[in-house]
Amino acid sequence: MARNTLNEKFSGATRYVLDDELAGIVNVSMALEMPLLLKGEPGTGKTMLSHAIAESLAMTLIVLNVKSSMKLVDALYQYDTLTRLNDSRFGDSSRDVSNIEDYIKMGKIGQAFASEKRTVLLIDEIDKADTDFQDDMLDVLDQMEFDIIEIDKTVRAKRRPVIIITSNAKKDLSDPFLGRCSFHHIAFPDPKMMRKIIAVHFPDIDSNLMENAVSTLYRLREIDNIEKKPATRELLNWIRALKSDPDFKPKTLAKGNIPYLGVLFKKSQDYKRAVEATSSSRIF
């Protein structure tokens, strides 16, 4: 793995196969100090990318998992009133009750800002939150600072973090949001890329198994009316399952006999359809 921490250029990590296109986009976004918005089918490695960037650039990864009920302030900081109340009554802690700052805890974005070293900030599944959250958050990321109202203090980012935002939504995010991000859509990998990905995760894999597994996956993705098609993540888990089964032989896949379908299809409707589709092909 080529790694160049001096120029902080991203070129891939041990468990992540990066295509040139995406590498270029990551580097440009980092240089322009813009958050990178990643979209793409679930299971194609959106989240894994930030892990890979953090690993490759030897930075700490801070993950903000967005929840639907989340308010922006939760991501920035928390004011622990109860502890303060308790301390003010019993006064047996090392904290200074009159200093509110002792009771401010940083949220994920706050941590990324406060860190002395440059960090990778992953904001995962931004689409879960409502639009207000998204727009407000972008203001914070744009200004690289936020106010803590309770102590009337502004927190400024010491080192601008590398920001990766992922979204699963089919809908587009708001225009001002998009305007401030650079964008990439991770396409589903082609078979060639897929083989590379498998090789990275299973360096000792039998080529026969790899061939059969890959062709089976692409065949299964062709089944109609599947809500959640199996993606890279499912394939890797499935291969892990196949490898751990001592009775399994790659040849059976070619015959259309597919074990552990439940690893690939996780919705009961999809599973039923996949079973139907594969069992009917076995007759012929």
Binding site: A31, N86, R89, G179, C181, S182
Partner: protein
């Protein structure tokens, strides 16, 4: 003959990749004018590119982040294009601007737009258009709007073949031979070729959507509009610290801490959704009503859905087939009056179905109460009620029953704007 060149993605990609440009040469390629042209061709092709993002791209070039055409391709895309839907168009324009590939014509988009405009003209003044196209009006009369659009498209393609660049052959901006007649506001609708009435309605509905640039009402749009439709009340275990009360109680106890817990606020809005799912008149609206229904099922914890055909008589049905689970209208009096009643229907029917005591088109429903009475009864029980009508509000005046019903139920168009208004009305105290 059509001269469309469909350059597939990989072809461009490899043609770019195979050519390694050095920076100097790249600069030569990317002189300012070319850059600006590139920006405007993206904009003209309908990709929403903003000047800010264009400046960002310039900045990236100034910072010498981009050193080859390949890098320019990916970086410009990441910075300028913000949705994968436009990636294909971007590829084509890029290939045209930087590789000299012939400019693709946006056949799909353009012909769709123009044929839509033609349909519009046709609905306003069939004679003029028939004349302009040199076709028999009666022949076109027998076509459904969909067939009409197909027909227009075929005509357009034909026309283009003969005059290159003939895209302005029929325009929307008033330069076309057909033109915007303007003095036939709904001529057809009033005069009424009765056979075509339903079809015209469908077509106009679509045209309106097209016109407003809003596209179909998607799940997301509906959820955005209905988000405010909530009734937050405290439920669940008392596990949330109420800071204000805690401080108050603690002070009252002379500093002896007393923590006050309260329930968290949750949405407990009761909603009854009554959907007209009968008959052909609602058929064109099935997708939009379906979307609304799906959203309601996800969103509202306490939702009762019932169905009816055209209007409400003695019963509403809990099953979509309207045969097994009747729900007597009188029963509704026992429900919580704070329940929000939302009726979805086109409210279009023959007047006697609404007014006459035996108006129902089903023989079994003969209680002697006219439907209008039942509707008034419902509106009285539930002060917070609304009628969502998928028919475009511009058309309401032409159907008497819509008028009558909108006097009983506050009626809103089943569009984004209409939904917002309806929500405002439903949440008003």
């Amino acid at each position: 003959m059509l001269k469309f060149i469909f350059v597939s993605w990989w072809r461009i990609y490899f043609s770019i990749k195979s050519t390694k440009f050095i920076t100097k040469k790249l600069k030569l390629y990317l002189n300012e004018q070319m850059f600006i042209d590139f920006f405007y061709s993206l904009k003209n092709a309908g990709i929403p590119v903003s000047p800010t993002s264009f400046l960002t791209l310039q900045k990236a070039l100034d910072m010498r982040l981009i050193n080859s055409l390949g890098e320019f391709y990916t970086s410009a895309r990441a910075i300028l294009v913000k949705s994968e839907r436009y990636f294909d168009v971007y590829d084509q324009i890029f290939a045209y601007r930087f590789e000299g590939v012939e400019m693709p014509e946006y056949e799909g988009i353009e012909i769709d737009d123009i044929s839509m405009a033609m349909l519009e003209e046709w609905l306003k003044d069939p004679q003029a258009l028939a004349h302009a196209l040199d076709i028999d009006e009666t022949e076109l009369n027998q076509l459904t709007p969909d067939e009409l659009i197909e027909y227009f498209k075929a005509r357009l393609r034909d026309q283009r073949g003969r005059h290159y660049g003939g895209a302005t052959w029929i325009g929307t901006g008033g330069t076309s031979p057909v033109g915007h007649s303007g003095h036939h506001p709904g001529g057809m609708r009033v005069g009424g070729v009765s056979r075509n009435k339903s079809a015209v309605k469908v077509a106009l509905e679509r045209r309106y959507k097209d016109y407003s640039q809003k596209g179909p009402l998607t799940h997301e749009l509906i959820s955005e509009a209905l988000k405010r439709l909530r009734n937050m009340i405290p439920v669940g275990p008392e596990d949330k610290v109420d800071i204000d009360k805690t401080i108050y109680q603690t002070m009252k106890n002379c500093g002896e801490i007393e923590i006050v817990f309260s329930r968290s606020l949750k949405d407990r809005l009761k909603v009854i959704l009554a959907i007209d799912n009968g008959g052909w008149s609602m058929d064109p609206y099935i997708p939009v009503v379906q979307t609304l229904f799906d959203y309601a099922r996800d969103q509202f914890k306490d939702l009762k859905t019932c169905f009816f055909h055209n209007t409400v008589y003695d019963v509403l049905w809990e099953d979509p087939e309207r045969s097994n689970k009747p729900l007597s209208v009188e029963n509704f009096a026992t429900f919580d009056p704070q329940t929000r009643l939302i009726v979805v229907g086109d409210a279009s029917m023959a007047p006697y179905e609404l007014m006459a005591a035996d108006g129902s088109i089903y023989v079994k429903e003969r209680s002697g109460k006219p439907s209008i009475g039942q509707l008034k009864f419902l509106a009285q029980i539930f002060p917070h009620c609304a009628w969502l009508n998928p028919v475009s509000s511009q058309m309401w005046d032409y159907t008497p029953t819509i008028n009558t019903i909108s006097q009983i139920f506050p009626m809103f168009e089943l569009s984004l704007d209409g939904l917002e208004e309806a929500v405002r009305h439903l949440m008003a105290q």
